[in-house]
């Protein structure tokens, strides 16, 4: 697998179309999954995916170790998504303000949802909450790293995460009812 990937990467570095397509096919599903988590819609996810892969093919020379490539391409996709929404982190949506609440979190809500359903609900969050939530809950960043990545304070990061969770919980309950939340 690693040897194959190395050959693929060499082909891509030489600009061979066949290698580029093969590399895309191999990582497309995983990368699109990431894009969906960070995007507001399918169209946005496709835009991020497109921009991300253009960057990947343009910066492949940075990858010397094929084993590091999966982590690197994931990072490129996330950074592309962050670039798209970074400017919106400071915007405050009115409906989000209304949904701010402090409710007790219930893990059961998440347990009963499929990944696809969960992603669709995450997509409904405004960028300022979605980015913090994804970086913290999925990528494992701490608040200091998030604050550096997004250019916000640690306090804002914590606050946004808390609000994101609350909003998610409320929306899940609203959409799926008490059967799921049980």
């Amino acid at each position: 697998m690693a040897e194959k990937l190395e050959i693929l990467l060499k082909g891509c570095k030489r600009g061979r179309p066949g290698s580029q397509e093969e590399l895309y096919r191999r990582f497309a599903s995983a990368m699109y999954g990431i894009c969906l988590q960070y995007a507001s819609s399918q169209e946005d996810a496709q835009d991020i995916m497109q921009e991300g892969f253009i960057k990947v093919f343009g910066k492949l020379d940075q990858v010397n170790n094929p084993a590091a490539f999966p982590g690197w391409i994931r990072k490129v996709m996330i950074n592309t998504a962050l670039e798209k929404y970074r400017s919106q982190v400071f915007l405050q949506r009115v409906d989000d303000m209304k949904e701010e609440m402090d409710e007790e979190m219930d893990d059961g809500i998440y347990n009963n949802l499929t990944s696809k359903e969960l992603v669709e609900i995450i997509q409904t969050l405004s960028p300022k909450y979605r980015l913090v939530f994804n970086l913290y809950a999925i990528e494992g960043y701490n608040h200091q790293e998030i604050s550096r990545e997004l250019g916000i304070t640690v306090g804002t990061s914590k606050s946004n995460l808390s609000r994101a969770r609350a909003i998610l919980q409320k929306r899940i309950k609203k959409i799926y009812g008490s059967a799921i939340a049980r």
Binding site: P17, G33, I34, Q37, D107, L118, A137
Partner: protein, 478 residues
């Protein structure tokens, strides 16, 4: 961060970290288009840069040539003749006549003034007139700026030339002395030079030269004889081969669409005939669409091939052009002919030993540097010129690599042997030239090129590539 947070984070990370979804196909279409477009853009930028450089060089060259011409070749328009010359009208006329006879080199004006210096002893002009009196060739003074301007246009417009010639024949030539306080027509002047005496019955030497030049060319616009240009074309290339060679590849091989381009320079020998040479790069080739062609490593433990493979370091398959040699010792088989192996072995179908295989076959690249020598004949000579083009080219082989198109991309698998490095081709085409400006024209030229000799050596059946392209480009005449 409490335990609940940690637990929730781990759960979400696990659940969403591995989340996958299939993107729509249009995403890859857009990505590949942008990747491809980037390449094309770079190519176009390079081509435009080259064309712009050539255009700039030619323009500067023309500019400098014209400047040199103006500085050295344009005759003085105002002749200064001493007053004493005026007393010797016959000498002056004689001088004019002599200068006319010797004016073929365009030095008539200097000649006209020289004899007058010798006539100086007979000074008759009084001091009130001044030591020297300027005699101005009036028609030249009045009309010459226009004439010079048009001659600088290299007589590019027939109608303008006709006007010039008509004007020259119609306009009487006379010499008007510029004397202080005296004005009037030449015949009224008191210096004893009747105006009609100085009116030549023929054109002045300058005008003679202009008229002769016009008569000689008879095609004013064609006077610039040199032309340089750049052309680019998509080309379709394939090959014509003997039956024996066709049998090897029948049904598998097809033509390739690629490109050709370069620069050319031509010299117009007559009004309608021009010879042309230049340098062009031709990217040619043959697609060998043997989908599923399989490649075996020589070292692979593949029983039917093991013994033979170990006995040779270079193994090859053949296409209609020649033998494809794999320096690594890889063996390529399917129904394709494999050198040094029996048909039974070559057609052995067992994918267990396949190292890789061609998804879209293989491509035989044939890149040539073309040095053409063509003759152009103008059938229609208007603003849109129609030319017949024919000639021969020397073609120098630059690349004979063979690539295999696999799922992991194009892979160079070897090169062609038994092929000649120097080849000759015949060229034929129809050129359409649109003269945008005096020195600038656009060209559209469908052209066919057929190799006269077989590009294989004598050990293989004869194969002759051919190309068809529609060349477009810019030409500059000077």
């Amino acid at each position: 961060m409490n335990e609940q947070d940690n637990s929730r984070q781990g759960f979400l990370s696990e659940k969403l970290g591995s989340f996958q979804a299939d993107p729509p196909e249009k995403v890859w279409t857009a990505i590949s288009a942008r990747l491809g477009t980037g390449g094309r853009k770079r190519t176009i930028i390079i081509a435009l840069s080259a064309a712009a450089t050539i255009a700039l060089a030619v323009t500067l060259g023309i500019n400098f040539m014209e400047r040199d011409h103006r500085e050295s070749g344009v005759p003085q328009q105002v002749e200064k003749v001493s007053p004493e010359e005026l007393t010797e009208p016959s000498e002056h006329l004689s001088a004019l006549s002599e200068s006319a006879a010797e004016s073929e080199g365009g030095k008539q004006t200097e000649m006209a003034t020289e004899p007058a210096a010798e006539a100086r002893p007979g000074i008759a002009a009084g001091p009130e007139i001044g030591a020297r009196t300027e005699i101005v060739a009036k028609p030249e003074m009045a009309a010459e700026p226009e004439i010079v301007a048009k001659s600088e246009m290299a007589y590019t417009d027939k109608r303008v030339q006709r006007k010039i010639v008509t004007a020259l024949n119609r306009t009487p030539m006379y010499v008007e002395p510029v004397l202080p306080g005296i004005s009037g027509k030449p015949e009224e002047q008191s210096i004893g030079l009747p105006g009609d005496t100085l009116v030549p019955s023929r054109l002045s030497p300058d005008e003679d030269l202009l008229f002769e030049s016009y008569q000689e060319t008879d095609q004013g616009r064609r006077d610039p004889r040199w032309m340089i240009g750049a052309a680019l074309s998509p080309i379709y290339s394939f090959r014509d081969a003997e039956d024996q060679a066709m049998a090897v590849s029948s049904g598998y091989e097809s033509g390739v669409i690629s490109y050709a381009g370069g620069v050319h320079v031509s010299y117009r020998t007559t009004t309608r005939l021009a010879i042309e040479s230049g340098v062009l790069f031709n990217k040619m080739g043959i697609d060998i669409g043997a989908t599923g062609i399989q490649m075996y490593k020589q070292a692979f433990d593949f029983a039917p091939l093991r013994e033979e493979a170990s006995g040779s370091n270079i193994l090859a398959i053949s296409n209609s052009v020649g033998n494809i040699v794999s320096p690594s010792g890889d063996i390529y088989v399917n129904s394709y002919k494999v050198q040094e192996f029996t048909k039974a072995i070559a057609s052995y179908q067992d994918n267990s030993g396949t190292e890789t295989y061609a998804d879209q076959g293989i491509r035989q690249h044939l890149d040539y540097l073309e040095l053409p020598f063509n003759v152009r004949y103008s059938l229609i000579d208007r603003d849109i010129e129609l030319q017949l083009v024919g000639g021969m080219s020397t073609n120098i082989l630059l690349n004979s690599a063979v690539t295999m198109q696999t799922s992991s991309g194009n892979r160079e698998i070897g090169y062609l042997t038994n092929i000649k490095n120097i080849n000759y081709s015949g060229n034929a085409g129809v050129g359409m030239v649109y003269h945008v400006q005096d020195h600038l024209s656009l060209r559209l030229e469908p052209r066919f090129r057929y190799f006269i000799n077989s590009i294989n050596d004598q050990t293989l059946p004869s194969t002759r590539p051919y190309t068809f392209g529609i060349y477009t480009g810019l030409n500059f005449r000077f």
